[in-house]
């Protein structure tokens, strides 16, 4: 990405390398933590990787640094061109879902960089997941370029390029433990301030046990849920979240019951019940929100979940919180 070559027409072809630097790794780390979201961008346009000739392949990607870097590092030792579309710093799949990694932008970009003057062939290799925004036959009709869908992951490109054929495995998205783990930091960063505020509020109402239970319910949704996803029973995310939230709430409910041993039984039961009502929906709601980070949920499925479970979550949480406040008020006023 250092020197710019000008092809005499005023359109620069930037030079890219397959080498990753510490600056790149630091940028990846920040992106994974959600710092300056949307700011991890590469300048859109055409890049030369190694020493490409007019016969060299053209690879298309998004202008998100993680996407661009995954592609160029996978292509180590290969001479080719990288056509970077303007996806506003969003990865290929999400941008394809929005249409920014799409037919229009691709056709526009092919013309803007005058690709047909630079390469002699009329062939583009796109990441498979770009297909959600790109219509291959439309691109052909409008630009004359053939679209070939490569593998899902850039890392499979060297193997793929040997025969230009993808294995079953290369064509599938995975959602392995590692894939799920890397999603946690962003969520933690997002939830830090809200969690702190909730903890302080609950400490004021009902001391440390309530504050700790809320933090546990939130962490269960944000950290435990992604980790345990495949092993939690049931199909949809909300009910999985309810199961997990219930398990996490149980010890807190017991502790609440034990705490005020001198209080009347109904009061102890009420504070335990408040825990079991208020905590699981918190975990379940956060679990439901995790649908947006996964490669397995469909829109109609999530819609169905929202209509089925969000009202239940709201009622449970509302009654649980009222009960918590009620119990505390009674204890204060009644001196129990």
């Amino acid at each position: 990405m250092q020197s710019n070559r000008d092809l005499g027409e005023g359109i620069p072809v930037r030079q890219a390398t397959s080498q990753m630097t510490w600056v790149n790794y630091w940028d990846h780390f920040l992106a994974r933590c959600g710092v300056n979201r949307g700011g991890h961008r590469v300048e859109p346009g055409l890049y030369a990787l190694g020493h490409p000739t007019p016969h060299s392949p053209v690879f298309v990607t998004a202008n998100y640094t993680l996407s661009f870097d995954a592609l160029r590092s996978a292509l180590a030792g290969i001479d080719g061109y990288i056509l970077v579309l303007d996806t506003q710093g969003i990865n290929v799949w999400c941008a394809a879902g929005k249409g920014t990694f799409g037919t229009d932008e691709l056709v526009r970009r092919i013309e803007a960089v005058r690709l047909s003057d630079i390469v002699s062939h009329r062939h583009l290799i796109l990441p498979q997941l770009g297909a959600a925004g790109v219509s291959a036959h439309e691109v052909k009709r409008r630009s004359g370029f053939d679209v070939e869908y490569g593998p899902v992951r850039a890392a499979d490109l060297p193997e793929y390029l040997k025969r230009h054929q993808a294995t079953e495995e290369m064509r599938r998205v995975r959602f392995s433990l590692i894939d799920r783990l890397v999603l946690i930091p962003v969520e933690l960063v997002h939830m830090f301030v809200p969690t702190l505020l909730v903890a302080i509020l609950l400490y004021a109402i009902s001391r440390w046990l309530a504050a700790a239970s809320a933090v546990a319910a939130i962490l269960a949704g944000v950290v435990l849920f992604p980790i345990l996803l495949p092993w939690l029973p049931t199909r949809d995310f909300s009910s999985k979240g309810f199961v997990l939230g219930g398990i996490v709430a149980l010890p807190f409910a017991l502790a609440m019951f034990q705490r005020s041993a001198a209080a009347p039984l109904w009061l102890r039961l009420s504070s335990a019940l408040a825990c079991l009502l208020a905590l699981p929906p918190v975990t379940a709601f956060l679990s439901l929100n995790f649908t947006g980070s996964t490669p397995i949920t469909s829109r109609s499925g999530v819609k169905r979940e929202i209509f089925t479970y969000v009202p239940i979550m709201a009622w449970m949480f509302g009654i649980g919180m009222l009960l918590t406040v009620g119990v505390r008020l009674f204890q204060h006023l009644g001196g129990a």
């Binding site: 979201r37 949307g38 506003q88 710093g89 969003i90 990865n91 799949w93 999400c94 394809a96 879902g97 929005k98 249409g99 920014t100 498979q128 997941l129 297909a131 959600a132 925004g133 790109v134 219509s135 291959a136 036959h137 869908y149 899902v152 993808a166 079953e168 064509r171 599938r172 998205v173 997002h190 995310f237 439901l288 929100n289 649908t291 947006g292 980070s293 996964t294 490669p295 397995i296 949920t297 469909s298 829109r299 109609s300 499925g301 999530v302 819609k303 979940e305 929202i306 969000v310």
Partner: protein
Amino acid sequence: MRASMWNTLEYDAQWCIGCGLCSDVCPHGVFGQDGGIAILLRPDDCMECGACQLNCPTGAIKVDSGVGCAAAMIYAALQGRRKQRQGATACCAPAQASCCESSQPSCCDNKRCC
């Protein structure tokens, strides 16, 4: 004809010309090829990304595509209600959290706005 009770995928084999693009682009192996035409292998696994529909040259595949993201859908619903109250047209766009949270209106407003 609906291919699965879990999603909106529809496939009409009589239009299939056997180009194989649907099996290439599907990230969940929903389609396979048999006897020169596409067949449904795992219709229940469809996540409605829309890649097959967009790349089918004969329109044999239909799916109500969108992003399955609860946060964005709830956000869009709340925004829509607010906008409706203000008399503006509601945006029914389901937008991925990664887009909407970064408050890039260009991204959210880009597609599927009614």
